[in-house]
Symmetry: C2
Subunit: 438 residues, 2 copies
């Protein structure tokens, strides 16, 4: 099932293979015994709902929701892959494919766990799946489907799409996610590119954008946009403790990624920054001539992409307004800004019994201590799940990846050993969840 | 002759048509009666030397040197041309072609003037041409040829490659040229692009480069590199007068180019800045993802191209060192800088009789007051002419272009009327030059 699924391209950004993938996922869920509905009446790629009723000895009062996505990132650059990105070849105990780790492996793990449980007496609780097809392009249509079909997706707890083993071999899970305010900035200086000798009298879109960006973040990484931090709650001792409990292998990370500079967290535990600090990252900047050699041009336009990771209570629309006000206040009225996409952060209550249960069953399945972080440093559409299914919905993300799974990059892979342990974890979790009362 | 020459592609950057063009230019110069040598023993594209002796009644003690180049800029973007770039089609009294204004029209003007003089009693003085083929890529090989063949190119005065009519219909000439220090800056942060959620702990090459650039120039256009201005001579009243005598149509320029911002010269005459102020212009900057929509990437590298136009006494190698020291002093030890090319400024003595003669004969040929500026805002390889042929060599640039000739841009053109006036100017100048003594 895993190889067949990984061999099917499903690239949302390029609209490749979407219809075929929807048919395949539907068939896979049906094979596992599910009732499948495909919703396509709120725009975008279809959202698949698969429902599995508790077995005869199962708990019909408890419903677990799984969130997955069938779309994957584009496989480019193709020449950097050792194995074909949609070949799903197995080498050294790993399955190599675009989407193996993000997120086709996890859907397969979960369906296999359900098949196993059904073959051994039936499901211990009700199970639902929400499988969308636009996660890799920011889930633009998902909130509309969640709002319209909230009753269909209602559940007592939710297992999120991803996760994997860290460098120490521990399963790493998160109970929340950061938000996002992705901005595009651009500056137009003239109708045409000019000869650069005009730099003596004509203002330059590239310089304007560089100066505007520099005004927004200090060299020591403080975001200088007025009020940027005002909705950020101060850290509780409990949150600090979670971060400090988890070791961070800074040197190994620096070596593995070839980092040239010290981590900006300095002497502090990097988890404190990764989990709790909002960010402002230049994802891209472009202006003028950037080919070989020299071209003496004064560029007419410049653009930049800026990714702000947000923490709970920060609102992406509010951040956009603050950036806009900052630019005006500093005289950069010629620099325009718009939001490409925005998502709010979400955090489950760390003391919720479900959160503790996921961690405990992980320890049992994997045979090592599991790590539960209050949040991922990354982003995903968790907030609308809370918004439409209930703000107290506990959501935990766990999955079959590993620390070098290379999601979004060439040679994405999962390890078959991890796949099997993740499946065992899901079996244990569903059993334990079915035993809970109230 | 003009159309044939303009139809011959000769793109130095792409090494297109160089050999064919050298043959064609050789043939054109021979047709005009010249002795032609082709030098190719100092690397790069060949340098053509054409010599024409004074006629029987001419002054054999006086030699005028013409500097031209046979190479042109690449014609791209091709789809923005109204007429084919190497078609040399004539429409509305204009010849449209890549290189028509820069600089094939001027070579043809000069050869036609020589043909006319030779048909009417012979040349009034000796004439030489230096025609190189790498001007559009920064003339890297020219100094070596000038050094080796200095005796062959020795002359009493030099007419430079370009010029044209300004918006008021006056011939606009220059007696000097700015220098250039073209720099490439780059910053490497990691071996791989990272997921942008790492922005909370990992330094970002794009931010580093933006901050480094912002440290080098203030929002009000002051270059902040220590010592950048230290070799700049203060303006003499004479230089100020030249600048202020010449009107500058700021509003027309702003409208024509669609400039969004006020000129940075403020209330001052823009000529003061264009002619006398060194500059630092971002010609290009690039990092990360700049396509449509969003990609949440933390880019591993960033690069920028920076063009500094220099004034007399500034040394491009010294400017490179100052930028390097500035970056280190401000902690940007991870930002590397190298020089792509460098040229020093050159200025003829404005009171030299030859400079005055070019201006006077222009007034006679064009029937309007001519404008002689001490320098162009642009750059060219004038300095090595002084270095190898004598630092007191008077060099004046004049040509057959017009204010909207669009050199380096699509729809480059010259007007046939201007071509004829420029030819008359050259005839008058050669005659007057032949009459000078001593």
């Amino acid at each position: 099932m895993l190889q067949r699924y990984c061999q099917q391209p499903s690239i949302a950004a390029q609209q490749v293979g979407i219809a075929e993938t929807v048919r395949l996922v539907k068939e896979m869920a049906k094979q596992a015994g599910g009732e499948v509905s495909v919703f396509d009446d709120c725009g975008g790629n279809p959202v698949i709902c698969a429902e599995f009723a508790a077995g005869p000895r199962g708990n019909r009062d408890k419903t677990l929701l799984f969130y997955n996505h069938y779309d994957v990132q584009p496989p480019e650059p193709l020449d950097e892959w050792t194995y074909p990105p949609f070949g799903a070849e197995i080498h050294d105990g790993k399955v190599f494919a675009r989407g193996a780790a993000d997120n086709k492996g996890d859907l397969t793990v979960r369906l296999q766990a359900i098949i196993a449980l059904r073959e051994n007496g039936g499901l211990p609780c009700n199970v639902k799946f929400l499988i969308e097809g636009e996660e890799e392009i920011g889930s633009p249509s998902l909130p509309a489907y969640l709002e319209k079909y909230a009753d269909q997706f209602k559940a007592d707890a939710c297992i999120w799409e991803f996760g994997g083993k860290n460098m120490d071999g521990q399963p790493q899970m998160v109970a929340g996610i950061k938000g996002m305010c992705y901005l595009q900035l651009w500056c137009h200086g003239a109708d045409v590119d000019l000869h650069s000798s005009n730099g003596a009298i004509v203002d330059n879109a590239a310089w304007r954008l560089v100066q505007a960006l520099a005004s927004m973040k200090s060299v020591d990484h403080r975001i200088l946009v007025d009020g940027f931090y005002e909705d950020v709650a101060s850290l509780t001792p409990e949150l600090v403790q979670y971060a400090e409990e988890q070791p961070f292998h800074a040197e190994r990370m620096k070596e593995h990624l070839g980092l040239r500079r010290p981590l900006i967290s300095g002497d502090e535990n990097p988890n404190l920054h990764l989990w709790y600090a909002p960010t402002m990252t230049i994802c891209g900047i472009e202006s003028g001539y950037t080919g070989d050699g020299s071209k003496t041009v004064l560029p007419r336009r410049a653009q930049a992409k800026l990714d702000c990771r947000l923490v709970p209570n920060q609102d992406p629309d509010d951040i956009l307004e603050k950036v806009r006000r900052h630019l005006h206040r500093h005289g950069f009225t010629d620099v325009e800004v718009s939001q490409v996409n925005g998502e709010r952060a979400y955090r489950s209550e760390m003391n919720h019994p479900f959160v503790r249960m996921v961690k405990e069953t992980a320890r049992e399945a994997y045979g090592v201590e599991a790590v539960m972080a209050p949040t991922s440093a990354g982003t995903g559409p968790m907030y609308p799940f809370g918004e439409y299914l209930g703000h107290s919905l506990p959501i935990v993300s766990t999955g079959c990846g590993w620390w070098n799974s290379r999601a979004h990059a060439p040679d994405e892979s999962i390890r078959i050993e991890d796949f099997e342990q993740a499946m065992l974890h899901m079996v244990l979790l569903l059993n334990r969840f079915g035993e809970t009362q109230g």
